[in-house]
């Protein structure tokens, strides 16, 4: 196999980062998962723009409660239309339906989709933080928009259907992706900071300091997470705003999952410290600062990024599970876990199957994280036993 000398030279002069990213992109499942993940992150960031209706109770459609999904069509028995449309539905209840509300489709009346419509307002960066004491309250005005990608001229369009109160499931799902990702990010960040401190001290100093840090880490790890979470979550007063609750749940997640990450940090530091090139630098009289900045930190960074990405799905799953059993986030802040709560009733399974759509979204999100994490891990360390 002839390799051109240009390609060889490129390989010789490639930095670690370049090698890792080329190995990552060569991995097909990692590439696809990465694309899906990126897509989901982008749509969650633009959830306001993409949702035709306000995901909270304010945006509910009283005319279309428990409605099935409506997908835009280009063609029906009346002919083809370049503009996508949906049919109007009307509520009907009668003896033949056992007096249950059903929707009848009226194929004559079309509702055409419109793009870039004006609708409900959504905000970015508008926070009001209420800390104890009047001095610490501050509000950030943020940015407000009201344009949405699509909507209909009259009535409503519900791509994923609606729930019991008429809230649009599609908008709720998009918002939920954002919330889940946000909680996950904050949780991972808190967990990372804590594990850096504990694991970093343990790994860098070694000796008895390491011993004590280890004992502490293991002690925290042995506490069963769900009962602990239940206890701590019970402390959150109901009077807290949804932002406070959001912040609180993220902190809890971070506090419970840092031991695993701390162990990884410690291991990386211990391995890197005993590398011979570190000794070579010491033998030139390099100071600790120089060694940390020039050698330890770069090698450490590439490992830790992998660890962080891999711990993300666990964070997501924890939050989803906890919200699902009612301990985590609650209405009106909804994450994917909160959405799943309403999918547990028997009549949902029989009649309103579209409530399960968020499940598919959750699975896709988690799997794509897992594949990206695996791809990163294989790219960063290709010599592991397969």
């Amino acid at each position: 196999m002839e390799i051109s000398s240009q390609k060889k030279e490129a390989y010789f002069t490639a930095t670690q980062m370049q090698l890792v990213s080329s190995r990552f992109f060569a991995n097909r499942s990692a590439r696809i998962a990465g694309a899906i993940l990126l897509f989901m992150i982008v749509i969650s960031l633009f959830s306001g723009f993409l949702s035709p209706y306000d995901p909270t109770i304010a945006g509910r459609d009283k005319q279309y409660e428990n409605g099935s999904p409506e997908l835009p069509m280009f063609w029906d028995e009346n002919g083809f239309s370049l503009r996508p449309f949906i049919h109007t539905k009307s509520k009907y209840r009668g003896a033949d339906t056992n007096f249950r509300w059903v929707y009848k489709v009226d194929t004559e009346k079309r509702k055409y989709l419109q793009f870039f419509v004006k609708g409900w307002e959504y905000k970015y960066f508008k926070w009001s933080i209420n800390l104890p004491g009047k001095k610490f309250d501050f509000k950030i005005p943020g940015l407000t928009f009201d344009t949405h990608l699509f909507g209909v001229d009259s009535g409503g369009i519900h791509l994923f259907g609606t729930d019991k109160a008429g809230k649009d499931l599609f908008s709720r799902t998009l918002a939920a992706i954002y919330i889940s990702l946000a909680v996950g990010t904050l949780g991972v960040f808190i967990s990372f900071v804590l594990s850096l401190i504990v694991g970093g001290i343990a790994g860098y100093y070694g000796g008895w300091i390491d011993g004590i840090a280890q004992m502490f880490t293991d002690a925290v790890r042995t506490i069963p997470p769900i009962p602990l979470f239940m206890c701590l979550a019970a402390f959150a007063p109901d009077t807290w705003s949804s932002e406070m609750r959001f912040f609180f749940i993220s902190c809890l997640l971070g506090f419970i999952s840092w031991p695993t990450l701390a162990r990884r940090v410690r291991t990386h530091l211990l391995t890197e410290r005993s590398q011979e090139y570190i000794l070579a630098a010491k033998l030139c009289g390099a100071s600790s600062t120089h060694i940390i900045i020039r050698h330890l930190l770069p090698s450490f960074t590439s490992y830790i990024i992998v660890d962080l990405v891999i711990s993300f799905p666990y964070m997501l799953l924890s939050e989803t599970a906890l919200s699902f059993i009612g301990l985590g986030l609650r209405e009106p802040v909804n994450s994917l876990g909160v959405l799943l709560q309403s999918a547990t009733r028997a009549d949902v399974l029989l009649n309103y199957q579209w409530y399960f759509l968020p499940v598919l979204v959750l699975i896709t999100l988690i799997l794509s994280f897992v594949f990206v994490g695996d791809g990163l891990r294989d790219a960063a360390d290709p010599h592991r036993n397969k």
């Binding site: 011979e276 090139y277 630098a281 030139c284 009289g285």
Partner: protein, 329 residues
Amino acid sequence: MNNNLITVNDVSVEFDYQENFLSKKQKIQAVKNVNLNIKKGSFVGLVGESGSGKTTLGRAILAANHISSGQVIFHDEKNDYNLANISKQELKDYRKKAQLIFQDPYAALSPRMTVRDILAEPLEVMKITKTREEADKRVREIASKCRLNLEHLRRYPHAFSGGQRQRISIARALVSNPQFIVADESVAALDVSIQADILNLLKSLQKELNLTYLFISHDLSVVAHTCDEVAVMYLGRIVEHAPTRELFSNPKHPYTKALLSSIPSIDPDKQNKAIELKGEIPSAMNPPSGCVFHTRCQYVNENCKKTVPQLEKLNGSDHQVSCLRINEI
């Protein structure tokens, strides 16, 4: 005084060992009462098997390990550095003059730095050069001496074979213009055909740059071919020290004799009968009393178990042996 570059005077190195923080603290005697003179411009070999303490001694001489007792004195032209009692500034100076070449060419180079940066790092850390141009000039100079060309400087370690990486290691050790180099098993991890290349490079660099080497190895054939004199270590002590030819043709210490007889000869007609050593190497935490070799020596008598032998010259020659019964066997 003399043309000694390094005087090792009654040096011992001990390590604390504690299995976990509930068990008893024990001491490992890695190096015990070693006397060694390394003359300027010489190529001294230090051989021994596992547990002999050769690596510990080498690192102690470089002030990379602590020295529990005794002195290691580096005789520079202007002043002497006593490594057991050295100030921070003196240590910084010493680092420029004494360097180490590692065994493992794969672990000794940071995978995240280009060859140029690896070679320039000592210059920057030790503030030998002030500007980037100065550093680059020095890097190019030393690289060409080690037969690395300009394009190699831009590459990362993963681009190189074991032998080439070892040359980068050597270049890095030489970039600060040292006088003394410790080569710790520097060819052990290389293929035979490459070993010869590196050994020849070390010898030519010695002539060109006026270097003094301490070559630590377990491979006696390699040491025989490259070193001027050889010191044999067993369980932290030097048991014999002689010029190479003399040692290999006329070994005196029972351990050296056993060691040399164990080397498998390349000549199939020369079926050497290895002198068998009874038992195993004793633990460094609990060394035998008297002469440490007495548990395995075929000439042992009661005196050997009680008295510690000293390294003494034979008949006024350069051949030193540490054995109580040397005149009888």
